[in-house]
Structures are given as C-alpha cells and as structure tokens.
C-alpha cells in the first residue's frame, strides 16, 4: 500500500510538471463549459445535464491521452526496468499509476464545480441529479482510465496506446447503439456491456447499483489485465 501511494504521488507530480495534464484539463473545461453554456437544459431545467452529456464522451477521448504515457513511456525509456527490479508488486505499480491519473481526474472534476455554483446563484437547481451526475462521471472516469492504463501496458508507443484505448472505449460506449439494431433479446444482453447504458440514470438523479457495479467491475477487469500484461513482459 505504501508503495502504491509512493508511485501514485510520483505520477501525480509528474503530471503537474508536464504540459499534458494542463492541456487535457484546459480542453475539458473549455468544451464542457461551452456545452454547459449553450445547452437548453441549463436554462429550462437549471440542471448540469449539458455538461454531463458532453463530459462523458470527452472523457473517453481525454482519458486515452492522459494515460497513454503511464506505462508506454516507462517501456520506451527503459525505466520500467528500475520499477520492476525494485521490491514492488506488479499490482502496486499498476494501482499506483491508476491512482495518480485518478488524482488528475478528480482535479478536473473539481474545477467544474463552478457550473452548479452558477446554477445556485441564478436559480434553484435540484441537488440530487447534480450529486449523482458527478458520481456517474467519476465512475465513468475510473473505467476510462483503467482501459487507458491497460492499452499503455501493451506497447512502448504512446500514440498506439492512445488509439487502442480510444478504440476500446468508443466501442464500449457505442455498442449499446449498435445493439439497438439487433433483435430485442440480443440488444438487451449486449446493452448490459455498454458504457453508455447506465450513464443517463446517473444524470437523472438515480443511483442504480447495477451501474455502480458495472463501472467498478470494468475498472477492476482492465486493471487486472494491465497487471497480467506487465507480468507477461517478464516471460518474453
């Protein structure tokens, strides 16, 4: 656990010293800010749905970019050799990297708090959907980061990592849309695996345990795959 925290804090600090985290956070704030500003939901319902709807999709893209260097760069620079010859478990390495990037995500979400604050100043928004909306976005964020770390563990090329992560994430997001063309029984089954399936509930203020379990299990699955992929490099 101590090692995980050491790595997490090193990763977090290293994000802060490189332009990447600032660019990603900046783009996230500009894009979600614009959609929050022009969305009718902001004015008609005094809700943050305009921000959440776009925020989800933008996260898929930005998380792939944010996580692409985590393991791929270590492989390319050879520093993975230092990390894996120190008395560390593979799981501590992966979990540390995950928590480090999660730190940036939390900062990113924290910086959007002024959207609901504006609503409170100029209107009387419903508190429930705001809280659950943030919870949904946070859970979705965990999932996207874990997929990104898994992609980063596969290659020493950061671009390849970002593309693979983006590919997996968009496939998981749109699989629900694609499923709607299938017979209803099949569509329902496939829909269970879709990243976008549970997100609308969180925006409406509903906490669905299925949604929480879904996001957490996908996160754990991809972190597990990343650990296995790292272990595998030892046997090459």
């Amino acid at each position: 656990m101590k090692n995980t925290i050491t790595i997490a804090s090193k990763e977090f600090k290293s994000y802060l010293t490189s332009p990447m985290a600032y660019v990603v956070t900046g783009i996230f704030l500009v894009l979600t800010g614009v959609f929050f500003g022009i969305s009718p939901a902001t004015y008609d319902e005094t809700s943050i749905r305009g921000f959440l709807e776009t925020g989800g999709i933008i996260l898929l893209l930005l998380a792939s970019v944010l996580t692409m260097r985590l393991l791929a760069e270590e492989k390319k620079m050879g520093t993975l050799e230092l990390l894996l010859t120190a008395p560390l478990r593979y799981s501590e390495v992966v979990l540390g990297k995950f928590l480090g990037s999660l730190g940036i995500l939390v900062v990113m979400l924290f910086l959007t708090f002024y959207y609901p604050v504006l609503l409170f100043i100029f209107g009387d928004p419903d508190m429930g959907p705001i809280v659950t909306g943030y919870l949904g976005l946070f859970l979705l964020g965990c999932t996207t980061l874990s997929v990104g770390i898994f992609a980063s563990s596969l290659t020493s090329n950061q671009i390849v990592s970002a593309v693979v992560a983006g590919g997996i994430l968009f496939a998981l997001w749109f699989v629900g849309v694609a499923a709607s063309y299938l017979p209803q029984a099949a569509a329902e089954v496939i829909g269970f695996f879709s990243l976008s399936q549970y997100f609308p509930d969180f925006m409406r203020g509903i906490i669905d345990t299925r949604g929480i379990i879904y996001y957490l299990s996908i996160t754990i699955l991809f972190l597990f795959l990343a650990i296995r992929s790292l272990e595998n490099s030892r046997w090459s």
Partner: protein, 309 residues
C-alpha cells in the same frame, strides 16, 4: 550470495543463455566478461527479477528470485546498462523516490541521500532536473540510485561505458570501495577493467561460460603467447630473415609496413631485436608489445576447448 544453477533463457526461439551455473560468495567482486550479445545483460536481468528464466534456478541472498522475488530484490542494487532515469525529476526527488520504493525509513532517507550524493560527487547538481544532466552525470545518478538502500548485492551492468576516462577511474575506485563490504557482480566487455577491479572472472561467450577463474590464472592464459609490433626503416625481407634467427621468436609477419612478431611464453627478445637492428644498420622507428584483445582470448579459450575434446 548469488547462486545460479543451470540457467537457460530463450527469447522465443533464440537461445540467449545456455545452461550456465556459477556462484558468487559474500564479499567477492566478480567480473562478468564477454563481448556484446554474449548473454551478460540477460543473466543480470534474470538475477534482478526483471526477466524470468526459461529453465534453472537463481538465488540471491538465499532467496529464489522466482518464488521469493520481492525478498531477493530487497537485497539487490542494480545498475542497468541503459541508464534509465526519470528525466523530468530532480536528482533529489529521484533518489527520494528510489529510496521509498526500496522501503527505506523516512527519517533515514534524507541523510542517506546526502551520503550517496557525496560519494557520487553530485552535490552541485542535486536540485537539477535529470533531463538537463550530461551522460556522465546521469551515470553517477544511476550509481547513486544503485547504492541508496545499502544493498548487500550489487549487480552492475557495464557501469563504465560511455563516460570519460577520469570518471571511469573514479567509478572503478568506487566499485572497489563498495566491494569491501558487499558482493559485486560487474559485467564488462573491457578486459583491463576486470583485472583492475575484480578478484575473479567469469567469461561468457554466446550464452555459455567458457572460463571461470581468478585474475591471476586468467592473466597466464592471456600471456600464453606474446606479440610485438615494430616499425623499422630498411629492407623488409632482409630484416625479417634476421629476426627469425633470434631465439624465442616463433613467427614474423609483415603487414602495413609493420612487423608483427610472435614469441614464446616467458621470453622477452626485445633486447636481442634491438641489437640485431643496430648491427644491420637499420633504423628502429617504433616498438611496442601488443595486448591480447578479448576476441583473442575467446578464440584461444574456445579453440583450446575444442582441441581438448
């Protein structure tokens, strides 16, 4: 401290290390000598737990590096050949990070960083970002990282490659210093380096151990025959003829306007050569003994083995 038993490593179908076994006792400095791609780095990566062996057992400080990898790694200080460092960190932050990962106690880390920075002469650069340091200084940071947690076993993969001669001798000095209390396995492809720093040498070639001996015995292998290179002004055929008459000279050849003279072991015919040249009325321009190169040794060791078989 290090025990390797029948270690074999394949990369896919390519055989990198072929059934090697050796021991390194506590407090020994052992040189691991071999040309490029001999399997030195692969063996060291297996010792440090970065790679897993295809077959065989490896123990470091009594721990199996496969089943008790974490305990084994705790005892190892590893200097990777590629000098991998986090270029966006300062020297201090990097050493702090390395020390924490090796499980050092918090209040000990600060004073230990000061110690290793002094040992490696990095005082002025402690708050510089590693990416801005030159190759030689990065090498020193890598050394500092290797010894920060006071490991019992040091595994150094070509620690003197790519740095200037002053730093090379400094690094060798440091290795000898460290070797007083610790076990050191040092890989290199530079022959003299081994005789300067190590007590014992393991020679590896194409994944196999071709010789394992003390430095004293190795040098007798090396001096199995001696060669002299000489430049003389005068008629080359006549000179060569005269030289062949000198006792102790086996062969004289003439290439690139230089004579290469091979002599039997223990004989030093240089004074006779001088005499002959003066008597002949020729002019000696240069004369030096040729050191046996690593390739010559491998050639010698491998061919000798074949004749024995």
């Amino acid at each position: 401290m290090i025990r390797v038993e029948n270690l074999t490593k394949y990369y896919g179908k390519r055989l990198a290390v072929d059934n090697i076994s050796f021991n390194v006792e506590k407090g020994e400095i052992v040189g691991f000598l071999g040309p490029n791609a001999a399997g030195k780095t692969t063996t060291m990566r297996i010792l440090t737990g970065f790679l897993a062996p295809t077959r065989g057992n490896v123990y470091v400080a009594g721990y199996d590096v496969i089943t008790h990898s974490l305990e084994a790694r705790q005892h190892i200080g590893y200097f990777p050949e590629t000098v991998p460092l986090y270029t966006d960190m300062t020297v201090r932050n990097y050493l702090d990070f390395s020390a924490k990962l090796r499980g050092m106690e918090k209040n000990r880390i600060k004073s230990r960083i000061d110690e290793v920075v002094e040992i490696c002469h990095l005082e002025e650069y402690i708050d510089v970002i590693i990416g801005k340091l030159s190759k030689g200084f990065r090498q020193r940071v890598n050394v500092a990282q290797t010894i920060i947690h006071e490991p019992d076993v040091l595994i150094l993969d070509e620690p003197t490659v790519g740095i200037d001669p002053i730093q090379v001798s400094m690094t060798r000095q440091l290795i000898r210093e460290l070797g007083k209390e610790r076990t050191v396995l040092l890989s290199t492809h530079i022959l003299p380096e081994v005789s300067i720093t190590c007590e014992r040498v393991i020679i590896i070639h194409e994944g196999k151990i071709v010789a394992e001996d003390s430095i004293k015995n190795l040098s007798s292998i090396v001096s199995g025959s001696q060669r002299i290179r000489m430049e003389v002004q005068g008629p080359s055929k006549k000179i060569a003829e005269r030289l062949r008459q000198i006792k102790g000279i086996i062969r004289v050849s003439y290439e690139d306007s230089r004579f290469i003279i091979e002599c039997t072991v223990g004989q030093d015919p240089r004074s006779q050569i001088m005499e002959a040249i003066v008597q002949g009325g020729w002019t000696l321009l240069s004369l030096d003994t040729m050191e046996m190169s690593l390739e010559d040794i491998f050639l010698k060791l491998t061919t000798e083995e074949e004749t024995v078989q």
